[in-house]
């Protein structure tokens, strides 16, 4: 079941790549499919769904720190052009 869902996801992401969604949606669609596939692998293939809270905490902390790294770095690059020195 999970295997079929993952294969379907792969097919879907390739098909979606040939369609043109408006604006930044292309990347959003591709990444959403990737995140869903990764979640399926983590929950079922890696048995996290049936694992204890400690494992959940470890994975959650990884996502949390990854988010910090991305958020702080991107906010730096994003705002660099806001204030032009006189």
């Amino acid at each position: 079941m999970i295997f079929l869902a993952l294969m379907a996801g792969t097919g879907l992401t390739v098909v979606a790549a040939f369609y043109d969604f408006p604006g930044p949606l292309n990347a959003v669609v591709a990444l959403t499919i990737a995140v869903i596939k990764a979640t399926l692998v983590v929950l079922y293939f890696m048995h996290v769904r049936y694992s204890g809270r400690l494992i959940w905490l470890v994975i959650g902390s990884a996502i949390f720190w990854l988010a910090i790294m991305f958020a702080l770095t991107i906010s730096d690059y994003w705002t660099r052009t806001w204030f032009v020195p006189m």
Binding site: I2, F3, L6, M7, T10, T13, V14, A17, F18, D20, F21, N26, A27, A30, L31, I33, A34, K37, A38, V41, V42, Y44, F45, M46, H47, S51, G52, L54, I55, V58, I59, S61, A62, W65, L66, M69, F70, T73, I74, Y77
Partner: protein, 249 residues
């Protein structure tokens, strides 16, 4: 109390139980937790490269699209499928160890390794194509510096670099630095994974695993699935992004 101490040793413990664990279940959980903590460090390691990719993609969108278009979607998609099938055979290997089917375990482990080797073979073909088209960045191969042939308008030769408006060869080279760093590190993890699988296969062959003791298979499986997940993200980011914007110039 001496009596209480003796009581814990009443039933003979499993030969694979290390003396610093109370029982097999505790030993297995500790191993799984340790593997996950290691995988967290791996997530942060790859995360740094994903971050570099994100920043430069926003900085040089046209160059990234041009460079991505040169990658072979078909080979990338086949490799994605190959890895997902290998994750499935790996999960089956873990399950069959848990229920004590040694033969199925061995077959599934061999299948997983064949699929892993297939992935690396296809990756090798792709790298060779990039070598032929002079797309290995910088002086990584001193006798073959980065010097792709830029296609003129109307030229459809897939071996030439098709730059869309606003893309420079220099920034395409940046994409290929990131491409080779990320896929190269991923391939290295695959090679290490094949090494781990070899060890697990030999252990399974010698009948070391049983429904009571299967932690090594399970933990190696976690590693294998993790490497698969990295590819699940690499494939759309590196291969598919170019498909859009193509006509937009």
């Amino acid at each position: 109390m001496p009596e209480g101490l003796a009581a814990t040793h009443d039933h003979p413990s499993h030969p694979a139980l290390q003396h610093h664990f109370e029982n097999m279940e505790q030993q297995r959980e500790a191993g799984t937790l340790g593997m996950w903590v290691f995988l967290v460090t791996e997530i942060m390691f790859f995360g740094g490269m994903f971050l570099a990719y994100t920043l430069y993609r926003f900085e040089y969108p046209a160059a990234f699209v041009s460079a991505s278009n040169h990658l072979d979607i078909k080979l990338g998609a086949i490799n994605t499928a190959v890895l997902i099938v290998s994750s499935f055979t790996m999960a089956t290997a873990v399950y069959s160890t848990q229920v004590g089917r040694q033969r199925t375990t061995i077959i599934c482990l061999i299948l997983t390794m064949i699929l892993g080797a297939t992935f690396l073979g296809i990756k090798g073909i792709e790298y060779h194509d990039k070598y032929n088209d002079h797309l290995i960045p910088g002086q990584l191969i001193p006798s073959r510096p980065f010097a792709p042939e830029v296609a003129k308008p109307g030229d459809t030769d897939p071996h030439k670099l098709h730059l869309i408006e606003g893309a420079t060869v220099q920034n395409v080279q940046l994409f290929y630095w990131i491409y080779f760093a990320m896929t190269g590190m991923h391939a290295l993890h695959m090679i290490i994974g094949l090494g781990i699988m070899t060890v697990i296969l030999i252990m399974a062959w010698r009948g070391k695993f049983s429904p009571e003791y299967h932690a090594p298979v399970e933990i190696s499986g976690l590693y294998w699935h993790f490497v698969d997940i990295i590819w699940i993200f690499l494939f759309p980011l590196l291969y598919l992004l170019g498909r859009h914007l193509e006509g937009h110039g």
